[in-house]
């Protein structure tokens, strides 16, 4: 069965890529205005080629020497599969030169620098990968950039997936993650862009009408699934979990999966699927593809922080959409604490900003979850949430009137949703109708679904605040307090009860979809005919954590003090004085003079 599937998808992939090449060829040559000639004559083409070569040589001469040296060096490092050198070039060299020479314009085109690298096609594909990423992040990609970056991604994945056997290439993990991350980002960016039908020029409309396959959802999913299957990453993870030996694993994962390049691309593709499915609004499937992945910080796949953070963000968000707030809260707390701890090491990383932005969105999501499912939660995180989103949180905790706050935070922190299909660019009639009456934007659709759930449980906070005051209360009386119809209020009580229950993952269970029903609220009640009985659970004050933390801190301070050398005596000429205080510090080295000072200083600190 598995064999068959692989074959099916490979076939699809080939086909797609052929289509794409054709379309893109049209796209790129269209600029030259030669396409009106049905039969371009050979001498004209030759002339064009020569002209192009001359132009490219001139362009190469313009490239600063530092950049040329960098490219030569980078190429050498890739040829030698020298991971250390590649990493340096990738993480620091490229960014430094970007700041210096290309902050506001493109890097030289791949064709221009081709002579420097002996026309090494593989290197040029990798170079273009960086080239387009720079265009997307620093500049405004135009339609050609969008089409060409797609074509280049296809060439890269084609090379990786459809060569005879695994390719002899090695790249740093960070770069591999960035390749997948950027591939999905560009897909999402294209989908958002193509949805803006009104701002398209005539040329763009013609190109879009012809190119329904470019950046299609199917082609993107094909790449991700193919990488997962080639690398046998799911089998690999399962084997690791079953504690199989290295030899057994090698046998299981095959010639592709043993290579770090394929293994990591496979793993990152699973995360990529999680993301693509979330963007398309399929939150169940998003969590289902993560079936084998264990969410913990010990997994060998968590070394790329950006990937780690992305994973938790999307998993947490999917849990919100599945209305599993406790699971979402747990997911966010775990990763936000991780980010807090990592902060000191990451301030200079070029991804620090990105991680911080994602973290901020997760704080917002966390605020949403705790407003909908009030629970006792991690102090560290909730303090930061109070600082950043205290105002919104207060509104959200008040039910109906908090809807605008929910809306604000949801739109700020949700993924950039996309629709699976392009507007009907290829059909002028339908397209006209589409412009006149465009469908609701994806983000707005998901927002309104989410808000409908929020509205459904909107009466809960008010009821809760009343119930908190009683141990038992007649429903009629409660309805009077609330100035509400009794029957309606009883129905709202049932809503409140259901809102205080949620499915939540159980430790031992595999997969992210499983779980059991738990109670999430400290306030519980039951209705006996018409009498409401209320019970509240309280948590006794917790001392242990505080005690342990401070104890360990004190021990560290004491150790540091003991291990540091005593200060050099200020007046060595004076005869030694007998120490006034013994035993406070009795190190074996005989320098007792400053002890008086030390005690005084220690005394001040203790006061």
């Amino acid at each position: 069965m598995a064999q068959q599937r692989t074959a099916l998808w490979e076939a699809d992939l080939d086909e797609d890529f052929h289509d794409v090449d054709l379309n893109l060829a049209i796209g790129s040559y269209g600029q030259n205005g030669l396409y009106d000639d049905a039969q371009p004559r050979i001498d004209e083409t030759t002339l064009l080629v020569v002209q192009q070569q001359v132009a490219q040589q001139a362009a190469l001469a313009q490239v600063p020497d530092a950049v040329k040296r960098f490219i030569l060096h980078f190429h050498q490092a890739v040829l030698e599969n020298n991971l250390a050198e590649i990493t340096v070039a990738y993480e620091s060299g490229w960014n430094r030169l970007t700041e210096k020479h290309y902050a506001k314009n493109e890097w030289p085109e791949a064709e221009v620098i081709a002579p420097l690298v002996n026309d090494d096609q593989i290197f040029l594909i990798l170079y273009r990968e960086l080239y387009y990423r720079h265009v997307y992040s620093r500049l405004q990609p135009d339609i050609d950039d969008r089409f060409h970056s797609y074509e280049n991604s296809c060439e890269l994945f084609n090379y990786l997936l459809n060569s005879d056997g695994p390719v002899p290439l090695e790249l740093p993990e960070q770069w591999l993650w960035d390749i997948i991350d950027e591939f999905i980002y560009q897909f999402q960016s294209f989908c958002v862009w193509r949805l803006k039908v009104k701002s398209k020029s005539d040329d763009e409309l013609i190109l879009l009408a012809d190119a329904s396959q470019v950046w299609s959802s199917y082609s993107v999913l094909n790449v991700l699934y193919s990488l997962i299957q080639k690398s046998k990453i799911n089998e690999h993870i399962v084997a690791l979990q079953e504690g199989k030996s290295q030899e057994e694993i090698t046998k299981i994962v095959g010639e592709f999966g043993v290579r770090p390049l394929y293994r990591m691309l496979g793993y990152f593709s699973i995360i990529g699927l999680l993301r693509v499915h979330s963007l398309l609004g399929d939150f169940t499937l998003a969590l289902k593809v993560m079936e084998n992945v264990e969410l913990n910080q010990k997994s060998p796949f968590t070394r790329v922080t950006a990937c780690h953070v992305t994973t938790y963000y999307y998993v947490g968000f999917c849990y919100i959409m599945l209305r599993r707030y406790p699971d979402a809260i747990r997911t966010f707390v775990s990763i936000l604490n991780f980010i807090l701890r990592m902060r000191q090491y990451h301030t200079r990383s070029y991804q620090y900003d990105q991680i911080n932005k994602t973290a901020d969105r997760m704080y917002a999501l966390f605020a949403i979850c705790t407003a909908l499912s009030p629970t006792r939660v991690d102090d560290n995180i909730s303090n930061i949430v109070k600082e950043r989103y205290g105002e919104q949180f207060a509104k959200m905790s008040r039910g109906d009137e908090g809807i605008p706050a929910f809306e604000e935070l949801f739109l700020y922190s949700c993924p950039k949703f996309i629709s699976a299909n392009p507007p009907p660019y290829e059909d002028p009639e339908l397209f006209q109708g589409y412009i006149e009456d465009p469908p609701v934007e994806p983000a707005q659709r998901h927002l309104s679904l989410f808000l409908s759930d929020v509205r459904a449980q909107a009466p809960a906070p008010t009821l809760r605040s009343f119930l908190k005051l009683y141990t038992s209360l007649n429903a009629t009386k409660l309805a009077n307090f609330l100035d509400a119809d009794e029957e309606e209020m009883v129905q709202q009580l049932m809503v409140m009860k259901q809102a205080s229950r949620s499915v939540s993952r159980v430790e031992s269970q595999k997969g992210l979809l499983g779980g059991e029903m738990i109670s999430t609220s400290d306030l519980d009640f039951v209705i006996n005919e018409n009498m409401v009985h209320i019970a509240e659970s309280t948590v006794g004050r917790r001392y242990a954590g505080w005690f342990i933390r401070n104890n360990e801190h004190a021990q560290r301070v004491l150790d540091t003090l003991k291990n540091s050398p005593l200060p050099v005596p200020p007046r060595p000429t004076q005869p030694a004085q007998p120490a006034k205080v013994d035993g406070v510090s009795a190190p074996a080295n005989g320098a007792p003079k400053p002890s008086g000072q030390r005690v005084a200083w220690g005394g001040v600190k203790a006061a």
Binding site: M1, R5, L8, S217, Y218, Y225, Q229, L280, G281, D282, T284, L285, K288, M321, L322, R323, S419, A420, N421, L430, P439, H446, L449, S452, D453, A456, E487, Q491, Q492, M494, V495, K497, Q498, R501, V503, L513, G514, G515, E516, M517, S519, D524, F525, V526, I527, N528, E529, I534, A535, E536, S537, T538, V539, G540, Y543, A544, I548, N551, E552, Q555
Partner: protein, 242 residues
Amino acid sequence: MTSATTWATPPTRTELIENLVSGVDRYNPSNVGILEDYLYHQIRSEEYDCLANLAILKLYQFNPDLHNPDVVINILIKALAALPFPDFNLCISLLDERPVTANPDEPDPLPSLLPVLQSLHNLLQQCRFPAFWTLYRSEKAESLRDNYTVEVVGFENAVREVVVRAVKAAFQRIGSQRLSSYLDLSGEELSAYAEKLGWAFDASTGVVLIPPNPDNQIESTVVQENIQLPQLVKVITHAQAA
């Protein structure tokens, strides 16, 4: 449906369907028929498999020309009865842009029925059960009843199960009149239904007694801290080393 695991993998799912739901074949448009047949099987035999139905909607999402409004409506009807779980909205999430089916011979019933289904869903979700039955029996929902829910075996009872889930979590005893309005049953039918659930019906007081379950037993508790030895290992080790 207390465990999400049975929700994700119902025991009634066959191996064929499991392969489709969990494998890459789920994207193959030629498999849509198998999944649609399975949906109609669910409708006839009071089974429910949310993930398989989502797989149909996924195929529709990617292949708008496959879109079959009757199937979509049936999926939504099945998802209604899954409340308080969010299945209904999870399905709606996948109904992307309007499908472009401008076929005058076969008008698309979805645009007119979707608002009715959504209203029904909202009422059920807000536990406004009497209002649900009023709307469901009204003229507005006539086409839904006559063309769709009539084919869904046990639809009304499936909705009653949603009611039962809400009532048994919130009540220890409930007035029979109230219960009657929630279940849209009265007299003989009501007492028979309560009996089937094992709920004792006291005819003299008109009160129904709901057996204890984890949700209708409440207790005030004080959670005390429980310190485990491993938490103190560092402190103790240090004391020993010092």
